[in-house]
Structure formats: structure tokens, C-alpha cells
């Protein structure tokens, strides 16, 4: 028994040293990534100071062109969105930003059913931010909810990089695959909707019940920005060939926006956009042309809506 315990102790010591060493090496790779998703998340959590911040998932990342918002609203803009993410990631971005400064305008891109879906898978994908767990106390309470044991697993530095290596190393070999630095967080998509998928606009209704946890997280997300004095703008992006006539989420958002006095722009019922295959890279995302058109249209509407005091805008 003593021999077994002695050998286990030796092994544990080797593992602890390897964990710390490899963790430190990976920290260096994370901090020096020329671009890519880790560079982008680090920039949002640690460096960004832009007046306008866009937060969303893949639609947020592809549909909003920061340069257009900058030109139209006359203030620097950063797109902090990340594909495949949901409310937990948005909250992490918020905590990282608010820990350092208060943006003047926050544009939240929301999906038509975002408040009707269970958040469990969204917590799992927010695991992308595990490498920042030890250095960012403000996001820990959110990441701890990934699993009951996450807090303990994340004691390992190596575990915080679990499955991240491909995307961590890729920017060192291929530039701009997750968007170029000059695009300020925007990830343009090329091409058009596959010919097989070209069809007439379909009218849709999503009437499943709201998820209380998702609703609570949205309330917190918007509430925290408002409490700090940011102007929050809620936007629902358009989809190709899908006109969402109503959804429980949209109904809630409309009431919520009215109650919180937050502008809400819904484009998911915009038939003209939904019918234009030339604007879409796939049914869910605008292509570069569509994104430019959409950003111009939205920034113009925001400009019309916002009080003159914000950013010193003049109508």
C-alpha cells in the first residue's frame, strides 16, 4: 500500500508541475495571439474602450459592421459578438467590460427565440472563456454554472484550455479566419444562400413558453448596463425566407423595452429583407453586402431614435 501511495504522490507531483508549466505556456500563446477568437475575447475583457459595443452571437458577429456605426454615430465601435454563443457569454462580456469602463451605447443582438430556450447548452459553449477564468474574477460566477464541478475542475490550468488548442494555435498559422483586426470584431461572410435553399418567405410563429432563467439573465444583462448609464439598444436581426410574425420572446421583448424605455428594433418580420437572397450568406446570416446594408439602415434608425445628448449626436 505504501508503495502505491508513494508512486501516486510522485505522479501527482509531476502532474501538478506539468499543469502549471503548460498552463503558463498556454497563457503566453493566448496573450500573444495575433487575432482569432481568444484575441477577440481578451480584447473585450481587458482592453476595449469603445463608446459603442455590440454584443451577440454569430448574427451579431456577422451582421453588424462597426465602421458603419462609427461613421454614422460618430464614436468608436467594437463588435464583441461571438458565433454559437448565448446569454452566459453575453453576461461574461458585460462583466468584463463593466469592470473597466461604461460604454455609452450597447447594441444587443437577440434571436427570435432566445428567451424560449434552455440555457444549459449556452453555458457549455461559454466554456470558450475558460482560459480567462483565473485572471478574471468577474466572470467566474457565470462560468461556474457550466457544471456543478466546474469550479473544481478549473483549479487545473491545463483544464482551462481543454479542447481550445486548435483555435488557440490557428491564428499563428492562418491570419484573419475569425475576422481581421481592422474589422473591429466584425466577421464578414462571403457568398450567397445555397441555390437549393432559395425559396419564398415563410411566415412563422414560435409560441413555446419563456424560459425563466433566460428571462432573468436578459433582465440582468440590460438592467446592469442601464444602471451604469449605458444606452441599451435591442435588435432582432432578419433571417432569410423566414418572417417571424410572432414569438413569445418578441412579445416579452416588446413589453420589456417599453417598460425599461429601451429602443427595440425588430427586423425578423421584415419581408423585404427576408425575401432578398442576395443579402444572405446562409438562412441565418447576412453576407458582406447584406451586413453593410443592414448596418447602414440600423445605424440610421438608431441615430433617429437616440436622444441628442447621447454621444453628442445631432439629428
Amino acid at each position: 500500500m505504501k508503495r502505491l501511495l508513494k508512486n501516486l504522490l510522485i505522479l501527482l507531483t509531476i502532474l501538478a508541475v506539468a499543469d502549471l508549466t503548460l498552463g503558463a505556456l498556454l497563457d503566453v500563446l493566448r496573450d500573444h495571439a495575433p487575432d482569432g477568437r481568444y484575441q477577440k475575447a481578451r480584447y473585450t475583457l481587458e482592453q476595449c474602450r469603445e463608446d459603442i459595443v455590440i454584443i451577440g452571437s454569430s448574427r451579431g458577429e456577422s451582421n453588424y459592421v462597426p465602421e458603419i456605426f462609427e461613421d454614422s454615430l460618430n464614436a468608436p465601435c467594437w463588435n464583441a459578438s461571438r458565433g454559437g454563443q448565448g446569454m452566459p457569454f453575453f453576461r461574461c462580456m458585460q462583466e468584463g467590460i463593466l469592470a473597466r469602463y461604461t460604454p455609452r451605447i450597447v447594441i444587443l443582438n437577440l434571436e427570435t427565440r432566445i428567451l424560449q430556450q434552455d440555457l444549459t447548452p449556452d453555458y457549455e459553449v461559454a466554456g470558450l472563456l475558460r482560459p480567462f477564468y483565473s485572471s478574471h474574477a468577474e466572470i467566474r460566477p457565470i462560468l461556474d454554472r457550466i457544471s456543478p464541478h466546474e469550479k473544481w475542475l478549473l483549479k487545473s490550468r491545463l483544464y482551462s484550455y481543454n479542447s481550445s488548442f486548435y483555435y488557440l494555435l490557428r491564428p499563428y498559422f492562418f491570419e484573419g479566419l475569425d475576422g481581421h483586426l481592422s474589422d473591429k470584431g466584425w466577421k464578414p461572410r462571403e457568398g450567397n444562400v445555397n441555390e437549393r435553399l432559395v425559396k419564398d418567405v415563410e411566415n412563422l410563429t414560435y409560441d413555446s413558453p419563456l424560459d425563466p432563467e433566460a428571462v432573468a439573465e436578459l433582465d440582468l444583462l440590460v438592467g446592469k448596463f442601464l444602471d451604469r448609464g449605458s444606452q441599451v439598444i435591442l435588435v432582432v436581426s432578419p433571417d432569410y425566407a423566414r418572417k417571424v410574425e410572432s414569438s413569445t420572446t418578441l412579445t416579452y421583448l416588446q413589453d420589456f423595452a417599453k417598460k425599461s424605455r429601451v429602443p427595440l428594433f425588430i427586423y425578423s418580420d421584415d419581408t423585404a429583407m427576408a425575401a432578398n437572397a442576395g443579402y444572405f450568406a446562409d438562412p441565418d446570416h447576412l453576407n458582406e453586402t447584406g451586413a453593410v446594408f443592414f448596418s447602414k439602415m440600423l445605424s440610421h434608425e438608431i441615430r433617429q431614435t437616440l436622444p441628442t445628448g447621447i454621444l453628442g449626436l445631432a439629428h
Partner: protein, 469 residues
């Protein structure tokens, strides 16, 4: 409790130390301790279902004693029927009630009659198929006078619920496992060390291979209408390794865990994808179940003692029943049936002449056909399976869905490591690095494996596939 959970990582060392330092001083105390921790292990999932294991053990313990005492054949048969009805009744109710009720209603509707089936909201108790088969083998062996029953209820109850193999096997025979509960055990470093290494490799198979591959497989199989033949082909190959690593990984962890407590369980998987025939495949795949069906279904049906037709019918029936054991769905029945037909065809072909293919070609052929059968195992319905097979065979579409490139790349990497280790174990066992003669090589190998698991394992607490069977 899952082997790949933090709960188990805390449970195991505590139980291990208490077992060797405290409980092992007395045989009855030790068995009582094993029984208690086994019930805690199982009850961690849902304590209510402990009553099923207790009831099943209770019935078989007393039926076993009575069967040994009674000479009257009619009364012995009656007792056997009692235990068969009890065990298969519980299994049938919890696992198959809804399946048969729905199938019955569908059969009526096919005949133009309407029949309202009443399905129930039943939770399938984890591992019920495994411990039911284990207790059944005990009683059947006593009935056949091949085994003498134990008079020690604690040892028997501990045998039925022995936590390393309680929920997903190997399905042990009483003749192998029960006597081990009466042996005095001394701590053996070599056995405990081997056990830990087996657990580690099993964990690698589960979290670094099976769970990694499942991410891709699910993305394809959950949307059968969206994907091309090439994507299905890749997903099916991935699934072949996913199910192998999921189940063989669990079995290896069970075997390793038992060894840490001084118990030896039977080998359950022996690198099945190196098989050169279907017969050999089944002597390498889920060995404890294959031999169970051979001894308690195929041979009692007559085995190969009758005509060729009868032998083939026995073989086919055994495989269909084996398919149904895997799950209450027609997909499993079809999967079992196809394997039965493959065995029959293989026998016929071998009688027709001696086909000499190179060994590599034979391995490849068996693997490809086995993959074809896995489509039926994995698909949600037979219709869906057929759609997938058609999509593959007609090579519909020419692009491949890679999905998340990281997941795909790590899946390939894990497969390469698995293949290398299986190849070494199959053909060059002397090169096995985990058991290398040099201490530093062994330590380095174990450390690298742990680091790989931490870095690239999937830790979403996913269930083992075979728990549902």
C-alpha cells in the same frame, strides 16, 4: 454514480482506503462493506431503484437454496418459472412495456383496426439488464446443477450489486465472481497498480475518444435529412469507435476498479475491430453477453445439435433476442437480425470453399460490414436507418460536413492514439509503454495520458451508452 464523474473521483479513494485498512480484517465485515458501498454507488443515481436490486437478489437467493435442496423435477421447474417470471417480469415491465404496447397498437393499425395502447411514463432503472442477467445465470446454473448455492446472503447480495460492474457489466457468472467473495484478500501492489492503469486507459477511451466522437456523430445522425452520404459514412465510422470506446472503456474501468479491490472480472472486449470473421468479432465484442446468450439461449434452443436449418434458426433467434436486449426498439431487433444472418452466411460460405483473402483485407471487410450494421443500432427508427444506408450507398451529395474543425481534428487524433495502442496490444504487446520495464517510461506514459485526458477529454458528464440497455 458515473466512473467519469467528480463524485466517483472522491468516492473511490475513500472506499479503497476504508476497504483495505478497516473492512478487510474480517470476511463478513468486508462483504458487508462492499454491499453497503455498492448500494450507495447505485443509490446515488436514484435510491428508489435499490428496492429492485434488493428484491431480485432476495428472490434468487432463496430460489437458489431451494433448487439445491429439492429433488422433485416438477417443483424445481416451478421454482425456476417463479424466478424467471420475477426477473424477466421486472425487466419486461421497466424496459419493454411501452415498446410492446406501441408495437401492438401499430400491428392493429396495419390490419386496419384501431387499438388504443396505454403507454406509461416509466424510468428505465440503470443497469437492470446487467444485474438481471447476472442473477439469472446464478439460478440457471444451480438449476442445471452446475453450481452450488451460497448460504451467505451478504456475500450473495454483494455479488449481485458489486459496484464496479453493477450498472454496465461485465455480466459475471457466479462460478467466477461469487467464490471471490469468500477468499481472504491481501493487498497486492501489482494488481492495484494494474487496476489503476486499466481505469486510466478506460477513462481515456470514454472521455477522450467516445465522448469526443459523439459530438460529431450527434451533429450528423440527429439531422438525417440534412447530410450527404460522405458525412454519414464518416459519422458511422466514428460511431463504430464511439460505441466501442464507450462500452469497452466502461468495462475496462470496471475490471480495473475490481482489481483495486482484489477481484478479477472477465475480459469483456478484445480489440473487436481486428476480427477477421463475424464469428471472431463476437468472440471479441461484449464477451460476457455473447457467452451468456450462447450458454442460456443458443445451447438450450438446441445449439448446433440439430439439422442445418434448425442450427441456423437457433443462431438467428439468439441474435435477434440479443438485439432486443440492447434496447426496446425495432432498430436493435434489425441490428441483431442482420448479425444473425451474417453469421449464417459466413458459415455457409466457409463450407463452400476456402476463401483466402489477405488478413488486412479480411479485417477491413468485417469492419465495413459491421459499420453498416451500426447504422441500424444508432438511427432513431428503422426507416431513418434505411434512409441513411441509401444515402451512403447512392453517394448522395459530394460535400462533407466537418462541423467544428477543432472537434473533428481532435476526434481524428484520438482515433490515431487508440489505433496505435490497440495495434500494439494486438500484435506487439511487448512494446506496451504503460507496462514497460523501465520505471521512467511507465511514469511518463501515465502522466502523458492524464495530461491528454485533462486537455482533450470531454467532461460534460455524459452517460455511458450502455447504461440504457
Amino acid at each position: 454514480m458515473l466512473f467519469n464523474s467528480i463524485d466517483f473521483a472522491v468516492f473511490l479513494p475513500i472506499v479503497f482506503l476504508l476497504y483495505w485498512l478497516v473492512a478487510n480484517k474480517n470476511l463478513h465485515v468486508r462483504n458487508g462493506f462492499l454491499l453497503m458501498v455498492s448500494y450507495i454507488f447505485y443509490g446515488w443515481w436514484d435510491w428508489r431503484f435499490l428496492s429492485l436490486i434488493f428484491f431480485s437478489s432476495f428472490v434468487d437467493f432463496f430460489v437458489g437454496l431451494s433448487l439445491a435442496k429439492i429433488e422433485n423435477q416438477t417443483r424445481r421447474k416451478l421454482l425456476l418459472i417463479v424466478t424467471l417470471c420475477t426477473n424477466f417480469g421486472l425487466l419486461g415491465f421497466f424496459k419493454y412495456y411501452n415498446f410492446f404496447a406501441e408495437s401492438f397498437a401499430e400491428a392493429f393499425s396495419l390490419m386496419g383496426q384501431s387499438f388504443n395502447s396505454h403507454t406509461l411514463n416509466i424510468i428505465l432503472p440503470v443497469g437492470i439488464s446487467f444485474y438481471t442477467f447476472q442473477t439469472m445465470s446464478y439460478t440457471l446454473d444451480i438449476y442445471k446443477r452446475q453450481f452450488k448455492p451460497t448460504r451467505d446472503p451478504i456475500a450473495f447480495f454483494a455479488f449481485v450489486s458489486f459496484f464496479p460492474q453493477l450498472v454496465a457489466g461485465p455480466i459475471e457468472r457466479a462460478a467466477n465472481l461469487l467464490p471471490q467473495f469468500f477468499e481472504k484478500k491481501e493487498f497486492q501492489y501489482a494488481l492495484a497498480s494494474q487496476g489503476l492503469k486499466k481505469m486510466l486507459w478506460g477513462l481515456f477511451m470514454k472521455v477522450a475518444v467516445a465522448d469526443r466522437l459523439s459530438l460529431y456523430v450527434e451533429a450528423i445522425y440527429n439531422y438525417p435529412d440534412l447530410h450527404t452520404g460522405l458525412s454519414f459514412m464518416v459519422a458511422t465510422v466514428f460511431f463504430a469507435f464511439q460505441i466501442y470506446c464507450d462500452f469497452a472503456g466502461y468495462s475496462l474501468m470496471a475490471i480495473g476498479c475490481a482489481e483495486m479491490f482484489g477481484f478479477k472480472l472477465m475480459e469483456n472486449f478484445r480489440r473487436p475491430y481486428f476480427a477477421t470473421s463475424f464469428k471472431e468479432f463476437w468472440s471479441r465484442w461484449h464477451i460476457s453477453l455473447s457467452t451468456w446468450f450462447r450458454d442460456y439461449v443458443y445451447i438450450p434452443l438446441g445449439g448446433n445439435r440439430g439439422s442445418k436449418l434448425r442450427t441456423n434458426a437457433n443462431l438467428f433467434t439468439t441474435f435477434v433476442v440479443s438485439g432486443l436486449w440492447h434496447g426496446a426498439n425495432w432498430t436493435f431487433v434489425v441490428w441483431g437480425g442482420i448479425h444473425g444472418l451474417l453469421q449464417i452466411s459466413e458459415k455457409r460460405l466457409s463450407r463452400l470453399g476456402n476463401f483466402t483473402l489477405p488478413r488486412v483485407a479480411k479485417i477491413a471487410l468485417i469492419f465495413v460490414v459491421t459499420c453498416f450494421t451500426w447504422v441500424f443500432f444508432r438511427a432513431a427508427t428503422v426507416g431513418e436507418a434505411w434512409h441513411i444506408v441509401t444515402t451512403i450507398v447512392t453517394a448522395s451529395g459530394n460535400d462533407i460536413h466537418i462541423g467544428d474543425k477543432g472537434i473533428f481534428a481532435f476526434s481524428i487524433l484520438s482515433l490515431l492514439i487508440l489505433f496505435t495502442v490497440d495495434f500494439i496490444n494486438e500484435y506487439r504487446p511487448e512494446v506496451d509503454l504503460m507496462n514497460h520495464r523501465l520505471y521512467y517510461v511507465r511514469v511518463a506514459t501515465v502522466a502523458l495520458l492524464v495530461l491528454y485526458i485533462v486537455s482533450l477529454g470531454v467532461f460534460d458528464g455524459s452517460q455511458f451508452i450502455y447504461f440504457q440497455f
